[in-house]
């Protein structure tokens, strides 16, 4: 007899203009298993799960829930069929309590609200799975890990039998991730099916009962625990062997390029978000900033680049105090920034490659004739950069928003690197890039290091930090909780510092 799955996707195809995000994908979830959906960014994992959770409709294929064929018109349909998704970006209302968030949009809620009942139910539910949350606390008071638990409880409360988590560990410290995995195991133990979307191999090895690998929209393999190992999975994901190590050659120089002394600043809400931040970056050195996202990383980059005002302390670049300089003067002092938000800040989505590549040097003499832009010079430069950095373009004038993430990042790096800065600040430089593009970006950064550039690398990916950095500074709650040479530490110690511990406590 054919096995009845909790949910089964058959021959799912989803096309977006220009790409086939899912191509005849088969995927199923059994009772009580943790099924990992593995693939690089852009391989179609999120699209597939968005189809399962009712956010998108497939162009072809069937969704079968416990043997019954269904069509989801909205996430509401999927939720009532027992399928719940926890998105990477949480959908919670900060000014509501946990219980209020949980019942929001749930049509079983009685017209006369008895929030105490809901809170009691939630308290029982969370206790059963070891998800410690307080149903009456306000969401804005919660940490990222707690918010994630609220999202999970919300889905359990609505009776989800299949729980999908999209890159759940991206915002967690290693310790919080371990706790999450224990919780997930307990939920699977009660007969639910858990789907975890990830691109991290170590997570697959740790929790997967089964794994399905997606590559360019196709399901290339579904393997049971015991049938897979890291190398196989990496090979399946990428479709070719990956060179994992690139070694730094020369030691960093002695000359200080960037020096921060007790720097503080406010965030967009006007609250203190950096406090007493001090460190130095030397010539030819990559200084990594590790930390859970949202602990002041973006603000740190902006304060150095002059985009945000420092409320205390001083920032010194090459011996000049640049505190309080306008962004333009900071650029002129040799500071380049690859911002976190590629299309929102670093590039102009509706403009072509030429207009984007001259963003930083359009006012230089070699790019202008009097008040006019020298278009011919700009085109020459762009053609040169496109070749040197292997940027794939349909045309030099087509809007860059049509380019892939990897190419966008190359374009951005090409512009910032060729402005010959003394200091390059790279914020999450490989976020959303696939393995090949990541390698390309890392090699570019290492090349600049060899040429003597000082690089401040801000990343949430500890593997990346360890691979590239000479020294690692940990940012937690807007303070530097430790600075350690990368060969003298390990992921565990950095993880503790990320949670606010100090170096001494590790002993």
């Amino acid at each position: 007899m054919q096995e009845t799955y909790l949910v089964e996707l058959k021959n799912i195809t989803k096309r977006f203009p220009g790409v086939t995000a899912n191509d005849k994908v088969n995927f199923n979830v059994r009772k009580g298993e943790i099924h990992v959906l593995l693939g690089e960014n852009g391989s179609g994992k999120s699209t597939l799960m968005s189809i399962l959770s009712g956010l998108y409709r497939p162009d072809e294929g069937e969704i079968i829930v416990r043997g019954i064929k269904m069509v989801f018109r909205s996430p509401r349909n999927a939720i009532s069929a027992g399928i719940g998704m926890v998105h990477q970006h949480f959908k919670l209302i900060d000014s509501f309590s946990v219980a209020e968030n949980v019942i929001l949009g749930d049509d079983r809620t009685a017209p006369v609200l008895n929030i105490k009942d809901v809170e009691n139910n939630l308290a029982q539910l969370s206790a059963r799975y070891g998800l410690d949350i307080n149903p009456s606390s306000m969401v804005w008071q919660l940490s990222v890990g707690e918010k994630q638990r609220v999202e999970i409880v919300k889905m359990l409360y609505r009776g989800s039998q299949v729980l999908i988590l999209d890159e759940p560990t991206a915002v967690l410290t290693p310790q919080e991730a371990d706790k999450l995995f224990r919780n997930l195991r307990e939920m699977a133990g009660t007969g639910r099916g858990i789907v975890v979307i990830t691109h991290k191999l170590n997570e697959v090895m740790e929790i997967a009962d089964r794994v399905t690998v997606l590559r360019r929209g196709k399901a290339v393999a579904t393997l049971e625990r015991g049938q897979f190992n890291r190398t196989d999975l990496a090979w399946l994901m990428v479709g070719q062997d990956v060179v994992l190590q690139n070694k730094k050659k020369s030691p960093p120089g002695q000359r200080k390029v960037l020096e921060l002394k007790g720097v503080g600043c406010l965030n967009d809400l006007g609250r203190n978000c950096l406090q007493d931040v001090s460190f130095t970056v030397h010539q030819g050195e990559i200084f990594g900033i590790a930390g859970v996202a949202g602990n002041g990383q973006r603000e740190l980059a902006e304060v150095i680049a002059g985009l945000r005002r420092a409320t205390e302390g001083s920032i010194i670049v090459n011996g000049t105090d640049i505190t309080g300089f306008s962004p333009r003067r900071v650029i002129d002092h040799g500071v380049a920034l690859v911002p976190e938000d590629r299309l929102g800040t670093g590039l102009i989505p509706n403009m072509g490659a030429v207009d984007n590549l001259v963003l930083k040097d359009y006012r230089r003499r070699e790019m202008s004739r009097g008040p006019f832009l020298n278009r011919r010079k700009a085109y020459e430069k762009v053609k040169q950069l496109v070749n040197r950095f292997e940027i794939k373009l349909s045309s030099l004038d087509a809007p860059v928003k049509l380019m892939s993430g990897g190419n966008l990042q190359r374009l951005l790096l090409a512009r910032e690197i060729t402005s010959n800065p003394k200091l390059l600040i790279a914020v999450y430089p490989v976020r959303g890039l696939d393995i090949k593009a990541t390698e390309a970006v890392h090699n570019l950064l290492l090349e600049q290091r060899e040429r003597g550039m000082a690089i401040l690398l801000i990343s949430e990916d500890l593997e990346e930090i360890f691979k590239l950095s000479d020294r690692i500074g940990v940012l937690c709650g807007g303070r530097i909780t430790g600075i350690i040479p990368s060969e003298m530490t390990d992921i565990e110690e950095i993880g503790l510092l990320m949670m606010g511990g100090t170096g001494e406590m590790v002993l």
Binding site: P17, R73, S80, P327, V330, I348, D355, L359, P371, L373
Partner: protein, 362 residues
């Protein structure tokens, strides 16, 4: 979702035939919608439309009147488009036009015998300066504190219009003008030269020259590049070290200055005096024109010409008892349909598959 079972999806690359066909279809549909109202009011819509068309474009006189109306529409269209390029919503073109007319008139009235070569250039300069300063008033709080310029520019329109009203009803009223709200006639030295014996004046040259200048500045200068970048993505502009505050003030100043020039050329080219109701809302129509042209300067000239034709055609049919508000309504319908049609250029409507088990789901 627009209708149950249908969804709107974005097209990645708008089809090139859609770019041409959709606006034409939209115009036809707008005329058809207008025809419903014409028929309801008991008139033959074909007759009205054909009389409007031949009135505006069919005769030498009609064509020259259309060009006369196209001049201020082009100038104000270019003026507001400059600000729109930087996502500054200058709704104050009308007021800036009035202030330009006011300053130009001041020159003409202060030097009544002035027939020197310098009179007209001074009127141009002061007219532009006044329009520019009028636009700078809302630009400064916008640049420094982020005060919404839509409201401030809109309100300043009425200040300018009533200021001119005050002058023509009061201190500047022509003592020999039979009590009409208008100033004395300018001396010949303060009147723009006309083309042959038509009413088409040198303002046409201002309009065409500014169209080319607008194009050169926006697409070929470093400053234009800053304007485009700031308009597309203010974050990028800040990140690239562009001085947005300075640019907001400069762009608004020049935007107002061009509208001011429109006012100057109206008083010095058409009326030869300042009068009440100088503009039938050119500065407002300019907003529609700038949008329909997608802020492209050459398209602005063409669209301004068509809108001028619509107005002239409207005047012509008014003689047969069609209310002038009918023309305003047609303008509104055109904007409505063309902008609505734009949705179809960039999006496509798709039918969703039926749901076999949808009904028993909650």
């Amino acid at each position: 979702m627009i209708l149950p079972g249908y969804v709107i999806e974005k097209r990645l690359t708008p089809s090139s035939t859609a770019y041409v066909i959709i606006p034409i279809l939209s115009i036809i549909l707008a005329l058809a919608a207008g025809a419903i109202f014409l028929e309801l009011s008991g008139r033959n819509c074909f007759e009205i439309y054909s009389r409007m068309f031949s009135g505006a474009f069919g005769s030498r006189y009609g064509l020259s009147e259309t060009v006369v109306k196209a001049i201020p529409l082009t100038l104000t269209g270019i003026g507001v488009a400059l600000a729109f390029r930087m996502q500054l919503w200058n709704i104050g073109g009308e007021g800036q036009l009035y202030m330009g007319a006011f300053a130009a008139t001041w020159v003409a009235l202060t030097f009544p015998g002035g027939s020197g070569w310098w009179v007209l250039p001074t009127m141009v300069l002061l007219g532009m300066l006044a329009g520019g300063l009028w636009a700078l008033i809302p630009a400064i709080p916008r640049a420094i504190w982020g005060v919404n310029e839509i409201i401030t520019t809109l309100m300043l329109n009425y200040v300018a219009i009533f200021w001119v009203d005050y002058l023509v009803f009061g201190p500047w009223k022509d003592p020999n003008g039979f009590n009409f709200p208008m100033t004395a006639q300018f001396s010949p030295g303060a009147i723009l030269p006309a083309l042959g014996n038509s009413r088409i004046h040198a303002g046409l040259f201002f309009g065409l020259a500014l169209t080319v200048i607008f194009y050169l500045i926006i697409y070929h200068t470093r400053w234009g590049y800053e304007i485009r970048v700031t308009g597309e993505n203010p974050n990028s502009a800040h990140y690239a070290g562009m001085n947005s505050k300075r640019n907001i003030m400069l762009v608004m100043f020049f935007s107002g200055a061009i509208c001011g020039l429109a006012g100057m050329s109206e008083v010095a080219g058409i009326a030869g005096r300042l009068q009440q109701g100088l503009s039938p809302g050119y500065g407002f129509t300019a907003i529609i024109i700038a949008w329909l042209s997608r802020l492209n300067p050459f398209a602005i000239v063409i669209v301004a010409f068509l809108f001028a034709g619509l107005q002239v055609g409207g005047y012509i049919v008014q003689t047969s008892g069609i209310p002038s508000s009918m023309v305003t309504m047609l303008q509104g319908l055109l904007l409505f349909f063309v902008l609505g049609g734009e949705l179809l250029t960039n999006y496509t409507i798709k039918r969703m598959p039926a749901n076999p088990s949808g009904d028993d789901m909650r």
